[in-house]
Symmetry: C2
Subunit: 335 residues, 2 copies
């Protein structure tokens, strides 16, 4: 970990941390389900425990899930387990994150020395995010008000963030910025995780109900930056449910809308967003909030975890190789 | 109360109920803060208690607030209190609802016999809602999937509803319909109140996170019907925060978007939506959910209660006099 790491305010002042790392033959990770109430580090000792940690969202965010997949394969390799069997279990945890399949397939193709390979994979994600931060910083002017959705921060990406990386770099370079944090129902990743990262980094921000994003896009927001779980060759992309709404509202109000993602999130096998499978999660995530049921016992709920935003709403993709327009993306991926 | 009343499933089967009514020298109202967990009727004995009941959202929804204002004036008149003073207190409770000012000014101008006048005012709201239901039913075809935001139901409108009135009439006339119920953060009026009305009425529905409305507008929704807190002469209107988002997304996806409101919600003194004051409510409504703080202690929140949707997104207004296009509205109001 270098100077670029996530700054975490602890009782003894800020210290650097990652979302997930290898330490003494096990994987350590921040339990993201407990934030912002408390910062707890869990030790993950087997690939089955890693599959569980991905399924139950102890670890979340496409690039962090990718690192978790690689580390899970490293745990399987370390204990001499059949790697193909382990890969199937790990791949079955979350259907939408392309990074997960990418990371697991890479470990499978390497096949040996997977602890070092997984460490290298996680380090390369962190480095890509640092470069995304540098590239995206060029889009941010002093005084800008920026809206973001869900958590595409250091927690989601091993370190530094995708959508939050440019915001970190802009803030550390002395630009005065303000961040509108969509709370991001149903799981509140914005209110819980992005706000926690903003507090730790000392960045001015306010949490808003997702419903208020349109109001502020119409009146105050200068720039939108979100992450992506999967990007198709034509620039359509899947991200946390609600992203599509914010993209349409940004274009309607002439607000630039950028997607920050490492190239590993781009799926060359997907021609368009039509091929992206949308995960339906438990209705209870909508119906039960902090242990209290909000709707009548007889009411059902529908809970798509992601939506697909067509490329036409995207001003550009912020990647480790620079900022690309959607049509430049297809060209680059074809090379 | 006639056959048109809200049907409420009680232990002894369905019974008819209103949101607010006069009974034995006091006002009775459903405490809407306790739904859907329990159905509790409160007795409101003074105009100060009525002001409190409006402020703390025991009674909510523009037309129900209008009736509450009229009944509050009746309570003041009954106890011989200065009516102008009482009107000031009652008007200071909620800044956005035009119906409130309309109802209070009407009682002030009548000046005497206010118990009967307030009863008549509430009855006329219920009758207008019944007519809105009849008019709006013409827009609903068998098999349609309809999206609604917040609660513009019987609870919000004394009886029957505005947005929910056409849905009630369509269902009672035998049309098979399905309702997507936006949960409506931050106060969850959709999940709590609209879903409760749907259950009582036996209408197929599912609660969705507000973030999922765009996803379903892009794929499944045939029609959107919402209520309004205030409509300007040009057809711009204020409604619960998030309405603007759904309107933009409906137009983007070619889904008809209707606003159901009695003519009393139309404000002849407002040329456009620019003049509508947006109430900012407590940040705690966003930050604290079911008693648990979701964001870090250091995080602020912004909480606009309403937004303004420009007339260009409105397919039509469903009123007690029929369905009107936005440009017909100005013409009708000028007459």
């Amino acid at each position: 970990m270098g100077l670029s790491s996530m700054r975490v305010r602890t009782q003894n002042g800020p210290s650097d941390l990652r979302a997930i790392w290898w330490e003494d033959d096990v994987v350590k990770a921040i339990d993201q389900r407990l934030l912002p109430e408390r910062l707890e580090i869990v030790a993950i000792k087997t690939y089955e425990e890693m599959a569980e940690a991905i399924s139950d969202m102890t670890v979340r965010g496409a690039p962090s899930i990718g690192a978790a997949g690689a580390y899970g394969m490293a745990l399987a390799w370390q204990s001499g387990v059949d790697l193909v069997g382990a890969s199937r279990v790990l791949k079955a945890t979350r259907p939408t994150a392309h990074d997960l399949f990418h990371a697991i397939d890479r470990m499978l193709s390497i096949g040996d020395g997977l602890v070092e390979a997984a460490k290298g994979y996680a380090d390369s994600i962190a480095e890509k995010c640092r470069l995304i931060g540098e590239a995206g910083n060029s889009l941010i002017e002093d005084g800008m008000k920026i809206l973001t959705h869900c958590n595409a921060g250091a927690l989601a990406t091993v370190d530094f963030g995708t959508a939050l990386a440019p915001i970190r770099v802009a803030h550390r370079s002395g630009k005065k910025i303000f961040v509108f944090v969509d709370e991001t129902r149903p799981r509140f990743q914005g209110a819980k995780l992005t706000a926690w990262e903003m507090v730790n980094e000392g960045i001015n921000h306010a949490v808003i109900a997702d419903n208020a994003a349109g109001y502020y896009l119409r009146s105050e927001v200068d720039l939108v930056i979100v992450g992506a779980d999967r990007v198709a060759m034509n620039g359509d992309f899947a991200n946390k449910i609600g992203t599509y709404e914010k993209a349409v509202l940004a274009r309607e109000n002439g607000v630039p809308f950028y997607v920050a993602a490492p190239v590993s999130t781009f799926d060359p096998s997907l021609r368009s967003g039509d091929g992206i499978v949308i995960e339906q999660r438990s209705p209870d995530e909508v119906l039960i909030v902090n242990g209290v049921r909000i709707a009548p016992a007889e009411s059902a709920a529908l809970n798509p975890a992601f939506d697909v935003t067509p490329a036409k709403y995207v001003s550009g993709f912020i990647t480790e190789t620079g900022v690309l327009a959607p049509d430049e993306l297809a060209k680059m991926l074809a090379e």
